[in-house]
Each structure stands twice: as structure tokens, then as C-alpha cells.
Symmetry: C2
Subunit: 367 residues, 2 copies
């Protein structure tokens, strides 16, 4: 059963007339066509009985067809009234759609008001957001295989990055080198801007590489990933650039123990919150709890913002096929930062990582 067929079954079961998919990443997941036309309208409509259709800017119609989409795709020009056209096409597929399923997490008040104008009798009868989220949560073996390929590219990226560390290079240089070398090998898109942070700069867990030189005898943090065949990788490693002092070694070892403990523990049947706690308590017991200021991990697949969220309060039970990061960190402002991260998928009796770069503290010789 395709993802779209699963939605069709759900519509039938719940006696709904139409599903309006408005979030671009979900359109990509369901159809294979990925695009972000920003303020232009891109939409997917699914019906219980009739075939679905995509509505897209005219200049993207060819690209939709190239993905192998075998149902109708309708284009519109910039000056045309998109929702007037959508109304026409919808009326060809279903008469007087009343019970709508919409993505409440994505549909804006403006867009909703427009729908109401064109379909005065419409009701938001169901929220499509959790239905698609649930569908996305369980990765198929084909998806796992793609995530493994993306993971191999992240390992390659670490290799390039570690080799690029040098006294006369900046964080930005090193990040640029990683992306350039990958692009030369055909990886055109990173899953996010590559992070390289040296010394105290690494204490900002959401920071970007700076023009600062790589600091000798400091920890240097890499967080990176690629997009490969529509699936992402996301991994972090922290290395010593030249020998580092005992304090830095200590926070590294604590973070590593947290990461390994959580990765060893992850298995079907436990909750996301339990796993967060297992990793977090290692850092808390070592006295650095206040420096671990984010959740243990996030779901991933086609993007790094999927479910399950590995955090306190999330009672979702982990099951085979779920994919997420395990990424404890210790961030001491003005001093140093460490983060060690693998993304994994839950297997029948544990979990398996997508990245394999060693996690023991590596010391890169000064140069």
C-alpha cells in the first residue's frame, strides 16, 4: 500500500470528503515531488474514491511529471487566482466537499479564510497532521537503506573535516572545505549548514562557524549531514585539535558515556522520555546537568525535524523503524562545548546507527 492509499483508506474509514495536504515536506513524502515555492500555492488533494491531484505553479509542472507522478497535476500562472482554479478541479473530483481533513499545524488563518470563501459549507472535520506524522514515523527497509547511504556520506564528511584542521584555517574555511569536497563528489545539498566550532565557540549549540582560527589544544565540534536521494544524515563529533587538558578530557568522557549509555539502551518498548532520562542522568550525576540544555534527540528521515522527539514528557513508545538522533552535549559558556551524535533506527531488539566514525576522543596532530 502506498502512503497515499493509506490516507485514502483513512478518509473512507472516517467518512471524510477530501484531504488537503498543504505542508511542502509532506507533499514530498507522499508524492516524491519536493519543492518550496514559498508564497506560491503548492497543494495535494486526496479523496476517498477519486484519484488525487497536485496543484502547482506552472513552472513546476514539468518537474512534477519527471518524478513519475502518475495522477493529474494542474498548473497555474502567477497572476491567476489559485483557489478559484482549485475549486474548479475539486468540484470535478467530489461534489460539495463538506468534511475536510486539513493540516492544522500548517494551515494558516489566511489560507483557511480563503478556503471558507470558496467552500462556505466546509467543516474542518479532522486534523491530517497526526495522520501523516504517524505514517512518517515508521521507516520502511527501503527508507532505512537510503538513510544508511546518507550516513556514509556524513562519515566521509568527518574525514574531510578532521584532515582540514590547521592553525592557519578558520572555522568557516573548514566548513567550506567539507561542503566543497562533497559537492565535487556529487552531494549537492547538506541537510543543514555545516557546523564547525572551536574552543569556546562550541559552547553555543546553535551557533554557526565563525571567522575565528581553529584553536590549538582545544576541542573542535563538527555537526553535519547531507541529503542523499531525499533522505538526510545528521551526526556530530568533537575532536581534540592537539593535546588537551584534563578538564576538557573529562567533559568529553562524560558526554561520551552519556551517548554510549543511551545508544546501548535504546530498544523497542521503552518510551522516548525514558531514553532521554538514561542519557541525561549520566551527565547530571557527573555534575554537568545544567550544561546540557536541549533534548537528547529528534526524529529524522527526509528531514531532521520528524518524530519521535526524545525528551522529557514524551511517552511515545519506541518501535522498530523509528529513526532519531542521540546527541547529548555539554556546553560551558566561555570555555568549551562537546556534542557527540549518531542517528539510529530502532531494530527488533535494540538500535543501529547510520554513522560509524569512531567516538573515542581523537586527537588530531597540530599543523
Amino acid at each position: 500500500m502506498t502512503h497515499i492509499e493509506a490516507i485514502q483508506q483513512w478518509l473512507t474509514k472516517n467518512q471524510l470528503d477530501v484531504a488537503y495536504v498543504s505542508a511542502f515536506p509532506d507533499i514530498k513524502y507522499l508524492t516524491g515531488f519536493g519543492s518550496d515555492p514559498i508564497e506560491r500555492v503548492l497543494a495535494l488533494f486526496i479523496f476517498p474514491e477519486h484519484e488525487p491531484f497536485i496543484f502547482a505553479p506552472a513552472l513546476e509542472v514539468e518537474a512534477v511529471k519527471e518524478t513519475g507522478w502518475r495522477f493529474p497535476v494542474y498548473g497555474y500562472l502567477d497572476h491567476e487566482d489559485a483557489f478559484a482554479l482549485i475549486t474548479e478541479y475539486l468540484n470535478q473530483c467530489t461534489t460539495h466537499p463538506v468534511k475536510w481533513a486539513v493540516q492544522k499545524d500548517n494551515l494558516t488563518l489566511t489560507r483557511f479564510a480563503t478556503l471558507k470563501e470558496h467552500f462556505p459549507t466546509m467543516e474542518v472535520a479532522a486534523d491530517l497532521t497526526p495522520v501523516i506524522e504517524h505514517e512518517r514515523l515508521y521507516k520502511t527497509p527501503e527508507e532505512i537503506a537510503k538513510l544508511e547511504v546518507a550516513g556514509k556520506w556524513a562519515d566521509k564528511a568527518f574525514e574531510i573535516g578532521f584532515s582540514a584542521l590547521a592553525n592557519n584555517r578558520t572555522e568557516q574555511d573548514v566548513a567550506a572545505e567539507i561542503e566543497y569536497e562533497l559537492k565535487k563528489q556529487g552531494i549537492m545539498q547538506m541537510s543543514f549548514d555545516t557546523i564547525v566550532q572551536s574552543g569556546a565557540n562550541a559552547a553555543d549549540p546553535h551557533g554557526a562557524p565563525k571567522k575565528d582560527l581553529i584553536q590549538p589544544n582545544s576541542l573542535c565540534l563538527f555537526d553535519l549531514g547531507v541529503v542523499s536521494d531525499g533522505y538526510i544524515s545528521d551526526a556530530s563529533r568533537t575532536v581534540a585539535y592537539g593535546p588537551v587538558n584534563d578538564h576538557l578530557k573529562e567533559i568529553y568522557e562524560i558526554c561520551l558515556e552519556a551517548q554510549l549509555t543511551a545508544q546501548d539502551a535504546a530498544k523497542p518498548g521503552m518510551t522516548a522520555a525514558e531514553l532521554d532520562h538514561i542519557g541525561r542522568q549520566v551527565i547530571e550525576k557527573a555534575g554537568y546537568g545544567e550544561y546540557f540544555i536541549h533534548r537528547l534527540g529528534h526524529g529524522m528521515g527526509q528531514s531532521e525535524h520528524e518524530f519521535p522527539s526524545i525528551m522529557e514528557g514524551n511517552d511515545m513508545v519506541l518501535e522498530p523503524g523509528m529513526c532519531f538522533s542521540i546527541e547529548p552535549g555539554i556546553y560551558i559558556p566561555g570555555d568549551a562545548g562537546v556534542r557527540i551524535e549518531d542517528c539510529v533506527h530502532i531494530t527488533a531488539d535494540g538500535c543501529a546507527p547510520f554513522t560509524h566514525t569512531p567516538k573515542e576522543l581523537q586527537t588530531i596532530p597540530l599543523r
Copy 2:
């Protein structure tokens, strides 16, 4: 008057209790703090009398402070209930906010329902979207200066790209080279993924560079821009890689005439639709109207998705300080594509471009 003070005045004038800014790019515009925490909550609240505050993920609080934000910023941890905390902080600033201004173009049904739970008496009394859009429409001299710097980097990027064309290189190679050379010079972010398209590949106006080799004796299209000091550039040039035939020269010259005619004509007092028509009719009269399948241009500034939109049906009158692209294109499937684009700002009596790479057809020698 700061942008925030302008919003405060508007709130007072319209007797509104609070403005909730939820769109990340607008938070950046109003506060200087740019971030995209995706599913996490980042919000700016502005009041008619009381000082505004930012509500952000805990791990971004330091970054907010570093921007020089001189009002409160409140952080929250991943497992905390963001809107319960927001309610507390809001109640410290204003008692029982009833009349809300929200960004209807950005606020989702889910977020709106959450607000309603915490503020049962709230009313969406005004749409904040057009107010901020109007504020963003007129660039100050300081903003124009930043856009000029970003434009110079785009010119630099063309130089790198044209020099990189060679028989044994792919479109992806050339795009990677451009971004790498810029990164080495400190430009860490492109405004969008660099487009390099050779031969028939250029007929897809929203396509990405492919693994295909640069075609000799073909047109090669570049569309690129950088982010510099928070402002973007966006420009397109099409060059001949080796001598090209008369048909290709013809479509190039028609596109160029459309671009130059529109850029010469742009001035205060005309409407966006009129300008679109001036450029479009050149291509239509030459018999290629069906191959120009997008609007003439889009607004730009901190992003490439601002107003005014230069298209049929848009009666907005152009005024000094407005910034937008002028980018006619001719796309013949299976054959070739041409696009020539400068972004400009409207001056007292015309317009001035941010990019200066020559627009006459350049022929790059084969190598």
C-alpha cells in the same frame, strides 16, 4: 523611529492590546535576531505601552542577547509548556489582552487553538501581516547600502562561475566552485542554492544543477546570490560557452531587450503590473510569449520573497525605496533557456541596480 516603535504606534492608534509576531523572518527584521527553530516556539510580543519581549528556546537566549536586543528575552526548555510560560510573561505586560493583532498569513490553526485555550477572551482584532509587509516595503538608505554590498558579491560570483566553465566540468562542479570560492572569502551563506544550467537544462526555470557536463556551443544560465550582513543579492546571467547559433543569439537578444526595456522604464508612480507588461510585451511581440512562464520579478531585501511582486494584476504603485528583481526569461523545453536578472531599487526618478555584471551576450572561450 525603530520598526518596533512603528508597530507600537499602530497598536495605540488602533486600540489593540498586543501584537504577536510569529513569522521568523519578521522577528529577524524587527529585532535583528534571525533563527529558524522549526517546530520550537520563537515569538515576539509587542505592546502599545509596555516594552516588548522575545520568547525563545533556551539554547538561543545567548544568541539573542549577542545581537544587542535591549529588552527582555525569556527562554524555555524543550520539555516545558511554551504557551503556559508565554501566558505568564504576557500577563506581566498587559492585563487580560483581548484585542490581538496576529500574522494571519503565518499563524496556524493549531497555534491559534492553543492561544484560545490560554486566552479564552482573545479576539483576532487585526491582521499584522500587511502592517509588517508595508514596513518592510520601504528600504532605508542603510538597507540599500547593505543590498549594494550583497550585489557586489553576486558580481564576484559570476566572475568565478564564468571562469570555471570547461568541457570536463559538470553544472554541479561549477556551482560548487562558486560557493567554495565565496566561502573562502567569508561569504558563508548563499541566498538560495546556486543555479548553473547548461543547454536544454536551462529550460527548467526552477531546476537545480545536474551531473551533466557543461555543453559546448550552448547557453549557460547562472542564477545566484549571497547573504551579506542579513541582506541578500539575487541575479541571473546567461552566457554563451563557445560560439552559439543564430537561434540562441536571437532568444538571448529578445530576453535582453525585455530586461533593458523594463529596467529603463521602472520609476516611481507606475504600477507593478504596468512594469510587468512593459517587459512581457517585448517577448510577446517577438513571438516567444508562451515561453515566459513566470512573473517579471519579486520583491527582495532580507529575503527574496518580499514585496512588491512585479506581475499582472498587481496595482501597487512603485515608490522610492522599493526593491525587486527584473528577470524576464525564455524557456524552450528540450532546447534552451535564457534569464537575465538584476535586482534594483526605485530612486527619485528611475531605478538603480545592485549588480553590474555586463548584460550583453558574453562568449566564454571553449576549454
